[in-house]
Each structure stands twice: as structure tokens, then as C-alpha cells.
Symmetry: C2
Subunit: 318 residues, 2 copies
């Protein structure tokens, strides 16, 4: 077969990463363009196509691209559209992204899904979920995303938007306000921003000493650094975060009985502090039949390549 | 085709219902045998086979049976076994049910799953979910069961036991003890027994007048009758039950983005009191993209036939 490469594109609010990937998951060439400077989506697509052609040339892959996979916030696999994405510069509209990009790339087929689903396909194709038919990918970044795989297939649901586990209820009463407009969502607690919120809340509510008190602003990275230094409050914050995650995972397990939960994203780097409380809460809240049966694994994709790899994996399905 | 009927068998703790069903979902002949008198599973299978042969004869369907479908508590679709079923008289063991029954029936193929999954297949084949590819069946009986359909297929998960939504957390703190050993499960609140528990709890905790106070024992049916007479406490109990269900349904929607939630079972008869609070809580707790988008529908299978029809529908897949 002469079409033996795929292109992966990860559309983020600030930047768009793209690269050419081979069947083994090696990124042969990659580049980055700005997303946030493009309020006109047509100009963005034109710039993106130019960048794609450049990486294809860099990878010596002209005429050998089997498909282009795109991971994008609010991406709809069924329609190839990006719908109402508040963090993208062209804003709350429906963009026929796959169609526009395919046209700009002389008809190379384009598949599109949201970033967490792309990560799940990437992990299944090249990473920690190779050989798994049933798993749940949880991305712990600025928000909490999810990609659910059942019987080897990503779950898209009736409308293409299945797998919004970051917006299930972690706390039902007096829960924190979430960006989505609801209260108590998992994302409001167990994302990078959630961890920072917990830190700010606990510093305010307790007198507990902590190196975090000396900081003007707190990000989840600061909490992680403090925990590594043995800061007790920071350690408790991760314990709390892990417990919240584990309780929710127990409910996800009751849904699809996965072989594993796969964690990915910036906050997953804190695995030395998260694994134990997650497993403890998860196993305390599942039915006996699943106790100590469901694995917790971490992404095996190289972090710098993961977003491109995840999106590129969709390209093989075209 | 000369094999144009299926047999449906619903294994319950007290009785086993079975019948011969045609492709339109008509039960041509049916009968009932006792389950609870059989502590020896081999004798039970022998009696069951005898009863099956009798209904096949009654339906004039000898030699025309395409398959046998069985719905049973703790039934595992992958292995055809019933595992650790506390309510069945042969108790906490693994029974190779499908294999034993097929052997007793001269090799007619047997498929087996749990009762809620069977109900989902039944509803998809003959009932309210005809034409739906993505829906969640919730059975509101003594317990709360579920059957999840994604892309036209029942979700069995890695081990065959997916879809235990009755044991997801409805209440995270100080939740009621559930039969499964956990606390706060949906089943402890939103089943027939849960409704009766709410009634007993509220009668104890409040002074509110209610016709329920005059009863020695309270079952969900009593609460239903009281609500129909306008009893305010009974009406509030259904409002509470509906709210608990609706909140949980919102989380289920975030998982698989279904077209509809389908309700079935004894408690679903109280739909005139449940529909409104369920929809209100569900739509208040879903992401904006699903608000007022997911239907709530009730089983369309004739109640006396539903268990047999649900199980029989599996027979067509053989």
C-alpha cells in the first residue's frame, strides 16, 4: 500500500499542533500554528492546510497520506463539525471543519472528534490500551474529558457527543460552580483548575501551614511541587482529588464494566499522589464483583507527541 | 424459513415464566414453573425442559424453534452462566445454564443475559425502543436494573456484567444501606422497596398526616394507591423518587448520549407521578446540549408478556 501515513491535528484554543505519523506511532515531522489569532475560520483552514503540506513534505510523505485525523473541542464525529466551542476564536457557531479541511487538502479524507475521544483512539492504537476492547480514557487537563471505548469502538451516542464524564455529579449538594453552568461536576474538582481551587479554598478555610501560603497565585503545578516537597496540605489536596476521582470511577465502572481506566493529561503527572486514593475510593464504591478487578493505568504516549498521535489514529480508520 | 419461533424464559427467584414467541412478538403459548422448590439445578433444568417441550407443542411449533433466550439474575451473556445469584435456590455458585439447557433441549442454541438486558433487547425488538440505536433501559422493580444499548448493541463490557446502574451513587453521604453492601445506591431509593423505605422513613421522621399511617406494613403499591387518592405525603414520596431518578439519569446521559431513557417494571406504573419530577431533575442536571433533548418513554410491552418477550428476543440473535 502506498498510502501509509496519516496526519494528526490537535486543535487547541491557543495553538494547533500537527504532524505526520507512521503505522508504528512515530511522529515523522511536526509543527505548530496559532489558533487564537484566527477569528476567521476560512483563513485558519488555509493556514492549516499550508502547514500540513509543509510537514508532509518534511516527512517525505507526499502522495502517501491515507487520512487526516482531527481532535478538537466540541468536535462531532458524525457530522465532522465543531459546534459552539467557546474556547476557539471563531466562537459559538457550527463550523464544517472536516469538509472545509478536506477541500483545502485536495480531497484527502478528514475525520474529526473531540480531544478526549482522540486520546482514547490514540491510546488504543499506540499506547497503554493496545489490545483492550473496553476501557475508559479520562483526560485530566484544564478540564476533565473522557473517551469511552466499548467493544473496540469509541462511544459517540445518538448525537455524537457521548462521553462527557467530566460533567457528571461528583458532589450533589452545595457543589462548586462548574464552567458548564452546573454545580458539583467532576471537572470542578478533579481537573488542574479544580486542584488549584481546592488549594485556594482550603488555604482560606483552615490555618494549616503550607508553602502554598507564600504564593500570589496558585496553579495545580504549584500544588504538585509542594506535595513533592512533602507539604502536608498539598498532599491532602491530592488525596481529596483522588478520592473524588475514585468515587466517580466506581460509577463509570457500573456503566460499562471496563478492563481499565486510562488516565492522561497534565494532572495525571501527579500519579505518585493520585493512584492510591483513587484505587482506594474506587474499590470501596464498586460492586463486589469488580473489587480490585479494574486496572488503573496511565497513558504511555510521549507527552509531547500525544495530542498529535491521538488525533492521527483516527486517520487510520478512514 | 422453517425455524420461525423462539422461546423466551424469565428466571425469577420464585417462578420461571416461559413461552413461545413469533417474529411479531406474539406469545403463542406460555406456562410457569416454580424456581424456588429446586435447590438442585439439574432437576430444575429437567423440569424446565419438560415445560418448554410442552409449550412448544401447545404452540404447534415442534421443529421450528430457532433459539432459546433466557433472562436471569446475574446472567452472563459471554459465558452463558449464572454466577453467584443470591435469590436463586441453588445459591452462590456458577451454573453453566445455557450449556445445560441446550443439552436438555437436544442442542437448540440458548443465549442468556440478565433480566434488565433482556428487557432492553425486548423493547428494541418489539416495544418502545423499536428503531432506536442508543437508549438506556431502566427496570424499576424490587431492585433497579439497567440495560444499555449503544449503536444497536447491548453493552456487556469486559466481563459480561456491564449496566449495573442501580448501584451507582444516588446519595454520596449518609446514603441508605443497599442490599449489595454499599450505601447510597440508586436502588436503595428508586426501586419499589426504596419507595416503601422512603414512606416508612418519612412517617417516622415527620408528623405529616397520611393515609399510610393506618397501615401495618407498607409496600410501594400502597404509596401508589395513596397518591392516586391525593395523599400529600404519598405524592411527595413520588416527587422525591422522581428527583433522585432524574438526577441519576442526567449522569447516565453524559455517558452514552442516548436518544431515550426507557422505563419498565412495577414502579413504572406510577408514571403519572414520576414523569414530571424525573424530567425536571434530569433536564436541570444535564449539559445544555442535552436539555429537553432526551426522551423519557415507558415500556410498550404488555406487562404479562414482557418478561417472556424480553428473553425471547435474544433467541433471534442466535
Amino acid at each position: 500500500m502506498n498510502s501509509s501515513y496519516v496526519v494528526g491535528i490537535d486543535v487547541g484554543g491557543q495553538t494547533t499542533k500537527l504532524g505526520v505519523v507512521d503505522a508504528r506511532g512515530t511522529v515523522l515531522a511536526q509543527t505548530v500554528i496559532r489558533t487564537d489569532t484566527h477569528s476567521d475560520v476560512e483563513l485558519y483552514i488555509a493556514d492549516l492546510a499550508e502547514a500540513i503540506n509543509k510537514v508532509i513534505k518534511d516527512a517525505d510523505a507526499e502522495g502517501k497520506i491515507r487520512g487526516i485525523g482531527v481532535g478538537a473541542p466540541n468536535g462531532n464525529y458524525y457530522t465532522g463539525t465543531i459546534e459552539n466551542a467557546p474556547n476557539l476564536p471563531w466562537g459559538r457557531t457550527t463550523v464544517e471543519f472536516a469538509k472545509l479541511l478536506s477541500a483545502a487538502m485536495n480531497g484527502i479524507p478528514v475525520a474529526l472528534t473531540n480531544d478526549a475521544n482522540a486520546a482514547a483512539v490514540g491510546e488504543m492504537t499506540y499506547g497503554a490500551a493496545r489490545g483492550m476492547k473496553n476501557f475508559i480514557m479520562i483526560t485530566l487537563g484544564t478540564g476533565v474529558g473522557s473517551g469511552i471505548v466499548i467493544n473496540g469502538e469509541v462511544v459517540y451516542g445518538h448525537d455524537g457527543f457521548a462521553g462527557e464524564l467530566g460533567h457528571t455529579a461528583a458532589v450533589r449538594n452545595n457543589g462548586r460552580a462548574c464552567n458548564c453552568g452546573k454545580n458539583g461536576c467532576l471537572e470542578a474538582y478533579a481537573s488542574a483548575t479544580g486542584v488549584a481551587r481546592t488549594a485556594r479554598e482550603w488555604l482560606e478555610l483552615t490555618d494549616e501551614p503550607s508553602v502554598l501560603r507564600s504564593l500570589d497565585t496558585i496553579a495545580s503545578k504549584d500544588v504538585y511541587e509542594a506535595a513533592k516537597e512533602g507539604d502536608k496540605l498539598a498532599l491532602k489536596i491530592f488525596e481529596f482529588t483522588g478520592k473524588i476521582l475514585g468515587r466517580s470511577f466506581a460509577d463509570f465502572i457500573a456503566f460499562s464494566a471496563p478492563e481499565a481506566i486510562v488516565l492522561f493529561g497534565g494532572l495525571a503527572r501527579a500519579k505518585e499522589f493520585l493512584t492510591e486514593p483513587i484505587l482506594e475510593a474506587m474499590n470501596a464504591n464498586v460492586l463486589p464483583l469488580w473489587k480490585n478487578k479494574v486496572e488503573l493505568v496511565y497513558s504511555q504516549l510521549k507527552e509531547s507527541d500525544a495530542a498529535i498521535l491521538g488525533a492521527s489514529a483516527l486517520g487510520w480508520e478512514l
